[in-house]
Symmetry: C2
Subunit: 207 residues, 2 copies
């Protein structure tokens, strides 16, 4: 297992490497190089070699990386070798998209429960789950020992939902509401806000 | 206007500062500090002061930042003072969520056209747009001079769509398909893939 001192920015790139390796496997490939991975990802080959060297010796000079072996190692490092159950809060448009998203399967995640506070939605089926009353959130998270949550609720409810999730034992939150959540230290949060990504690009556009 | 040598990682944090300032304004606040912004964002106050110093002198020692002025400056730096038209490709679950997303308005972006290749969807209304045949993509992008696109199509079509967008003159792409797109240099791409964010957190979770 990897030492604890790996910089977070390196950890952040490992899922990209894993995704690229999955594509190469799907293309029937068995060997790759840091150069090829770099070209695909827009990351320098030196950076890739340096990142991977944190975790041991994966490639051999001149022969490249064994894709299958490296995939296996990355899945192990990222702890997605087994399937993580995830709770999804919010069954609106975005919740629908997430609940039906095919990309979770095979990459380590399973939407195990879906919650909403709208009486008209509760009891309906979404993906392969019945939408549950958000009042039962804590009970379900605790009884199933779920550690990961996705927040897809309106911005005004997001912080309250986050608090309830943390109280119930959630350790990692992927937040789609356009607000930076406040959580206790030790709880991991990642934010997805399309406007932040768009604004990051408009800086470079001439008008 | 800002010099061109600002590191991309700094540019990437400016939308977060702008978002936090918008929240403070909504709360009726007029003055803030790098300390308060840092606490809200989980970024050190020293980092925030350093980032903002790239663009001039915004805060005064001891008096903090004028929120309105700083917001205005950030909107100007990020070029979201005017409204950018955006084309959305893909009218599935995710496309629906994006087309109806209220968070674009007031933050610089307007979904100006929606495309799909499904004959059953073409002609239907989504948000306040009629879904158009993707065959007309190039024509619409060119005639309206649109520079920004959001890709919300299945992974197998994403690279082809990206190529068509670049051919039509698109300069910035926000890609939701779980694949790293290959585009000519000079074209900006940002990727949103929930699994990459989830895998980045599972590394830290004990099983």
């Amino acid at each position: 297992m990897a030492p604890k001192s790996i910089p977070d920015i390196v950890i952040g790139r490992l899922p990209l490497y894993l995704r690229a390796l999955n594509f190469l496997t799907a293309e029937g490939r068995e060997i790759t190089s840091s150069q090829e991975l770099g070209d695909r990802l827009g990351i320098s080959s030196a950076q890739i070699r340096k990142d991977l060297s944190h975790f041991g010796e994966f490639g051999k000079q001149g022969t490249g990386y064994d894709i299958n072996y490296l995939r296996q190692q990355l899945r192990d490092i990222l702890r997605v070798e087994h399937l993580w159950d995830v709770v999804l809060i919010g069954a609106g448009d975005l919740g629908h998209a997430l609940a039906r998203y095919a990309g979770f399967t095979g990459r380590g995640f399973n939407i195990a429960a879906v919650f909403d506070n709208d009486p008209e939605k509760i009891g309906q089926t979404l993906g392969n789950q019945e939408i549950q009353d958000v009042a039962k959130l804590g009970e379900t998270v605790r009884s199933q020992g779920i550690k990961i949550a996705i927040i897809a609720v309106p911005v005004n409810s997001a912080q309250d939902v986050a608090r309830a999730l943390v109280d119930a034992g959630i350790k990692a939150i992927l937040n789609y509401a356009p607000i930076t959540l406040t959580v206790p230290s030790g709880i991991k949060v990642q934010h997805i806000d399309p406007v932040v990504h768009l604004q990051r690009m408009t800086y470079y556009l001439s008008q």
